[in-house]
């Protein structure tokens, strides 16, 4: 019940209500939470329930679809591994040394002369079922109405529970603020109609950003027309970062393929988690 209350409180942050520097505290949100919004939500819920009855069983079983869900499509075939996204991200947020919000992994496999190297840009997956949100004891991490998973750095206590819970190792402890930190799809930029810094800088146009739930958007058309994959689908996190042509080989694969595989994470954490 408490979680439900918290959920409603957080839901009032609309897709245009981006707050990056001054995140609203729980108390402010409580004040702002209006009866009107609540009634609106109730109406929406009733309509959704009525609509669900007409859908086939498989579609009904799925999680309720958000009106807006920002996501990213990364075409790994177009990535040249130049790290421009990593650098753009670093300078955009002044990310401290030794940690990354966004990074590019190199996967080298095979033996000479049949060897190749592939590139895998990584960032927070802004999951539809984010495990980090479930474990956060203060509600500092939450999923916004537009699907972006953000951290209220005034609420975060730095317990590192979310670092443990993230299957993508996308989170780190910011050594300056002492709080959890990660990619937030550049909310300050997209609220101004710009694309995230990594998308803006990508030389191969390997990154497409947009609303995956809007049927006409470029990203949703590309997802529909291509064989896309997500990372660690079996975790059930329903990631919103999609890949085309991603080589998700792992160093463990050497045990059955017998091929040389080396993953270079380009992070202070040498081992991919």
């Amino acid at each position: 019940m408490f979680e439900l209350c918290l959920y409603f409180e957080l839901e009032i942050m609309g897709p245009n209500g981006f707050r990056t520097e001054k995140m609203m505290s729980a108390r402010t949100m409580k004040r702002k939470r209006g009866r009107r919004k609540f009634m609106e939500r109730l109406g929406v819920a009733t309509a959704a329930a009525a609509g669900a009855a007409a859908l086939p069983a498989a579609a009904r079983a799925a999680a309720p679809k958000r009106a807006v869900q920002y996501g990213m499509l990364i075409d790994a075939r177009r990535c040249v591994g130049c790290h421009a996204c990593t650098v753009a991200c670093k300078s955009e947020f002044d990310v401290p040394l030794g940690v990354n919000r966004s990074w590019v992994e190199y996967t080298e496999k095979g033996d000479h002369p049949f060897a190749q190297r592939t590139f895998l840009p990584r960032l927070c997956n802004h999951c539809s079922e984010p495990p980090c949100v479930r474990v956060c004891p203060t509600g500092a991490t939450y999923k916004r109405r537009d699907g972006i998973v953000v951290i209220d750095k005034n609420m975060c206590i730095g317990c590192k529970y979310c670092l443990q819970a993230c299957p993508y190792d996308a989170r780190f402890l910011n050594p300056i603020t002492g709080t959890a930190d990660k990619c937030d799809f550049c909310v300050h930029r997209i609220s101004q109609g710009l694309v995230p810094a990594c998308v803006n800088t990508c030389v191969g146009r390997a990154r497409i950003f947009g609303d995956v739930n809007a049927s006409g958007s470029e990203i949703s058309k590309l997802i529909a027309h291509n064989a896309v994959t997500v990372l660690r689908k079996e975790m059930g996190t329903q990631p919103n970062v999609f890949y085309i042509g991603a080589d998700d080989s792992d160093e463990h694969d050497i045990h059955y393929t017998g091929q040389y595989i080396h993953v270079n994470t380009h992070r202070s954490k040498k081992e991919r988690r």
Partner: protein, 318 residues
């Protein structure tokens, strides 16, 4: 294993051990108090348990605060945010549970403070009422330490429902060991009636402890067996404590041999003469100290191995 710092390191490991021990001591103390009659034979077990319980739990909570990222950058009181929210995160539930635990266990300990505290004195009623709350609180805190780790699919080593059960049994066992150790160090010889009570209580604690150790060994076996019988991430994760793994020797020598097998054998030899032939329960002073110390070291090393193994393993495949 990888030469990297663990996200949760020694403070968290110590906290899991200390909170478990305190919770075990409180649950033991309260249940012994509720089960024992007006004779007062086992009253001192309850008394020692009540005095021990809040101390390790409070120390553990302080250690947790030291581990916080915000504490390291000088935001000393940011952890108070924990009390501004309650949600279904195991850590949030645990925070409230620990807060109630510390408060109530201190009140409970206060009812034992009068020098002539005994069953039937004027504090008897509040003491028993508090004890009814203390049993579920102690078990709750002990279980929560396992749930905290078990709640994440991204950590295949921890993501097992039996881990909480393992931590509960280990907590009760270390709690009893704490009571035994404190009493062994503090008790004075002389008064024959006191000696009788001491022996009776020692027998009760030792006999309970061997039962708990047996159950703990069984749960540990099931934990390892089921992990090993699966394929994929969990099997890969459990391999770090099996033969050839980086934590294998730490686990088998410190946890299994010193923490479980050696105390079990000693306790078996101590209780059998009384159990089978109704002889007096006698313990040599050195064993009286060594046995609980071995159990306590084993309990700490169990947390050390579980917390470390959980963080050096991850789901395989991407």
């Amino acid at each position: 294993m990888h030469g990297e710092e663990l996200t949760w390191s020694l403070p968290v490991i110590s906290y899991l051990f200390l909170a478990g021990m305190g919770a075990g001591a409180l649950a033991t103390s309260a249940s012994v108090l509720l089960r024992s009659g007006p004779s007062g034979t086992y009253f001192n077990i309850a008394r020692y348990g009540a005095f021990i319980a809040p101390i390790p739990v409070s120390i553990g909570c302080f250690l947790l605060i030291f581990e916080l990222g915000t504490f390291h950058v000088g935001l000393w009181f940011r952890w108070i945010n924990l009390y501004r929210v309650i949600n279904l995160s195991p850590m949030s539930i645990g925070t409230w549970l620990l807060t109630f635990f510390i408060g109530i266990s201190i009140l409970y300990a206060a009812t034992f403070l009068p020098r002539n505290a005994a069953p039937g004195d004027k504090w008897d009623r509040p003491r028993r009422l508090l004890a009814w709350v203390c049993v579920p609180l102690g078990i709750g805190v002990a279980v929560y330490t396992g749930v905290l780790l078990g709640a994440m699919p991204s950590r295949p080593f921890w993501n097992s429902p039996i881990l909480a059960m393992l931590f509960l049994l280990s907590s009760l066992s270390t709690g009893i060991a704490g009571i035994m150790l404190a009493w062994a160090i503090l008790h004075r010889k002389g008064d024959p009636e006191a000696e009788h009570r001491y022996r009776e209580s020692g027998y009760l604690l030792t006999a309970t402890d061997i039962l708990l150790i047996a159950l703990e060994s069984l749960v540990l076996l099931l934990f390892i067996m089921y992990a090993h019988l699966t394929i994929g991430s969990v099997k890969h994760a459990i391999s770090v404590i099996l033969a050839g793994g980086p934590l294998a020797s730490t686990f088998w020598l410190w946890v299994v041999l010193l923490g479980l097998l050696i105390p079990a054998v000693i306790e078996l030899f101590l209780i059998l003469p009384r159990l089978l032939y109704q002889k007096t329960f006698e313990v040599h002073r050195s064993l009286e100290v060594f046995m609980p110390v071995a159990v306590l070291i084993g309990g700490f090393m169990l947390r050390y191995v579980v917390v470390t193994a959980g963080q050096i393993t991850y789901p395989i495949g991407l």
